[in-house]
Amino acid sequence: MLPLLSGQGECVINASSSPPAVELHGITKRFPGVVANHDIGITVRKGTVHALVGENGAGKSTLMKILYGMQKPDEGTIAVDGEQVTFGNPGDAIARGIGMVHQHFMLADNFTVLENVVLGGEKLHGIGSAARKKIMEISDAYGLGVRPDALVEDLGVADRQRVEILKVLYRGARILILDEPTAVLVPQEVDALFANLRELKAEGLTVIFISHKLGEVLSVADEITVIRRGTTVGTADPAHTTTKQLAELMVGSELPSPETRESTVTDVPMLRVEGLTLSVTDPDGAVRDVLSDVGFTIHKGEVLGIAGVEGNGQTELIETLVGMRNPDSGVITLDAEDISRTPTRKRREGGIGYIPEDRHRHGVLLDSPLWENRILGHVTEKPNSKGWLLDPKAARADTERIVREYDVRTPGIEVTAASLSGGNQQKLIVGREMSHHPKLLIAAHPTRGVDVGAQAQIWDQIREARREGLAVLLISADLDELIGLSDTLRVMFRGQLVADADPATITPEELGSAMTGAAAGHLEAAPEDEAR
């Protein structure tokens, strides 16, 4: 399986003209009792996009913290542009031209782009016209298309990310570390980001790209280093590697095939939505339909996937179903009971499980311990409470069970949710929701930001519950996930369900074109109509 993957011994430069941008050699980092990084060797050539992939907890972050000067290695050497360096703090790394774009943006919303960029770097080019000139220069040189006077709060996620990149470049970075940059982007934005990365590369900059999304890694990277259990297990040439091979290298074993298409769909409707319409008033006063006449049925044991570019009404649909928004008209029936006007808590007690799109906003209390997060959303249900009283003991015990069964990596249940990685927060949420045996699971991007191993696990859990009659509404930007998991597919465009498709035969490309509104109706000429 691995002929195309060279062992780490070969991760040393060939005698070429210029020294590599970054060369890590024999990096070992021990924490009390155990080794987080062990004898890691990576060579990143100048002017390339180098991807670093590995499961959560494989040691990627530790390694990047070492490279960015946030932690010191116990052994091993770092060479930047052929010169041995030691970093005491990120300032040292920045001075050597290394910049980091974090997964969560660190921008002041009420400042303009210009103000955000110069913030903390006032000494470089001042805060006035010189800074503006420099920003425009950088923006033009790399095709970032940044507007210096726009307020950051008015910018979308992708634009904010470009501001973050610009911030790093403004400080003179020649080597950029991007930590899971695509986790927050929709496919089109990912393409745009990759175009930017190629520009950077063309200008001789070096990009180190950390990602879980192997398809993306293959499309953008020039070289890939795989890390498993704290050490480099190999490098791969994206031109000759498949995602499956890469994933197996990452996990260290063969992956279960994602396609197990035995149908569990019954003809008992679990959720019926009819004529759901919702309009909102924009800040500028215009009234806009975000949902118009949406109707569908999900049966017991069925996964209904909704595809669509983000912002076409999916969020509003979910929030209406959960009861956080009141529709203007339409009927929602759960298990033969009209819940159109039922408050959120009653709906959740009535069997709606909810994996929210934005887990920090809707899924967890970041500053509360894990066991309190286990109570969140199910405070009226066992084992969290008895009558009006909480039952912290039972809740704690059950949290420990979830942590065990759902493989949440944490030293204990008293730590705050904020101290877990996004993937582990997500596993906790999935575990919590599944623990109450929902009738209907509303899953928005259930595996976003989750590593490959955990992703497969979450899929398995959804499939297993489906076999027992769970109905699932799945919304995802990951088209492979949608197609692989759904029994029925719908496409949402401008607040309407415009097309439907059979996941057994549809390709991501066909689905993608319907998502942009280019196609409607039934997406392929299947002889029989699907169950409605």
Binding site: T344, R347, H362, V379, D407, G412
Partner: protein, 372 residues
């Protein structure tokens, strides 16, 4: 796991200790700059505590402060800033005094009636701000401040002799009339000449216990804390945010209604023009310093009451007693700064630690690993 708990405890104390140390240093500097001998002052303050009558004064004052701080803390726990405790307790005390003076029920019933009236009036006054916020989106900070001044004027008008007030012969003071003796809350004499500890102080302690129980052990308390921690997450979890805002405003107001009770039931037995004012604002300081924790609030209430009462005889020794006010101000500033510093440090530290523990493999055993 134990380690995290110990850490949290240490960090929990680090904030207040840091704040007090900084405030102490700043106070000393202020005194030195203004050419006063700080150590003589501190000696005098502590000497006061050794007198049993001052001890009683401090405890009584602390009980009142404790209730005011609890009222504020209820709001704080769900991100509501009830600045209006001051207006709420004054209006409540006055109405309760009026009712108490005009009705005569046997023994405990009279007390219960007065207390219930006070709580209802406090809740009503706070509820106005709650309704404004839930229906019109008016910030409770603005509305409660305004309600404070409305309440000041309202009380001044109601207590006029032509309305409900009384003016005693040969006095400029206006009162609401005396509450019959059945409505006096019995106190606890500490020693013959030291005065009594208000009986209502023990009610205040009970309120602290109830506060802790409700917040930490009931579903309602969980919803309230969740709303305070993240309104959006609480909403998604099924909390009706508007109902929650209104309910907690009502509770906060009801507790505020109790603030005047120790004085009214234990000492003055009437509401008059010289009824204590400004307790609600002191309550904000104390709730902040005590981190909204019932025990923390109790300790801070004692501290502030100590500064208040121990400073009053300072004039005799050539110190201005306003020094105590300066010290309280310095404490507030230090508290705000040091708590935020400690909070940020704590979050970062825990993230780092969890990262290290996980990297070190010290996770709870997962099923997968257990199967190996």
């Amino acid at each position: 796991m134990r380690k995290f708990d110990k850490d949290r405890l240490i960090l929990g104390f680090a904030g207040p200790v840091l704040a007090l140390v900084v405030a102490f240093v700043l106070s000393t500097l202020v005194l030195l700059v203004s050419d006063r001998d700080p150590f003589e002052l501190y000696r005098l303050l502590f000497e006061q505590v050794s007198y049993s009558d001052v001890q009683v004064l401090i405890i009584n004052q602390a009980g009142t402060y404790y209730l005011a701080a609890l009222a504020v803390a209820v709001g704080f726990r769900m991100n509501l800033f009830n600045i209006g405790v001051d207006g709420q307790y004054r209006l409540a005390a006055m109405m309760a005094a009026l009712v108490g003076a005009s009705v005569s029920l046997p023994g405990p019933l009279q007390i219960v009636l007065i207390v219930v009236v006070a709580m209802l009036v406090g809740a009503f006054w706070a509820g106005i701000a709650g309704i404004l916020k839930t229906t019109r989106g008016v910030s409770e900070v603005v509305s409660t401040i305004m309600l404070n001044s409305i309440s000041t004027s309202l009380v001044a008008w109601l207590i006029l002799p032509k309305n409900f007030g009384e003016q005693a012969e040969g006095s400029n003071n206006l009162t609401t009339g005396d509450i019959p003796e059945s409505g006096w809350f019995p106190g606890l004499p500490l020693s013959p000449d030291a005065g009594e500890i208000y009986g209502f102080t023990f009610v205040a302690v009970g309120c602290g216990l109830v506060y802790w129980l409700v917040l930490n052990r009931t579903r309602f308390g969980f919803d309230l804390r969740a709303t305070g921690a993240s309104e959006s997450a609480a909403q998604a979890s099924g909390v009706d945010a508007k109902k929650m805002i209104l309910t907690s405003m009502l509770i906060s107001g009801a507790v505020a209604g109790l603030v005047g009770m120790p004085t009214l039931l234990g000492d003055t037995h009437t509401y008059s023009l010289d009824f204590p004012v400004g307790l609600g604002f002191t309550g904000i300081t104390i709730a902040l310093l005590g981190r909204n924790h019932p025990v923390g609030i109790a300790l801070s209430a004692l501290l502030v009451a100590f500064l208040d009462k121990a400073s009053s005889p300072l004039d005799q020794f050539g110190f201005e007693k306003e020094i105590a006010t300066i010290m309280q101000g310095l404490i507030v500033i230090s508290v705000v700064v040091s708590y935020e510093l400690v909070r940020r440090y704590g979050t970062r530290r825990q993230q780092q630690k969890v990262g290290e523990e996980i990297a070190a493999g010290h996770t709870l055993t997962t099923e997968k690993e257990a199967a190996l």
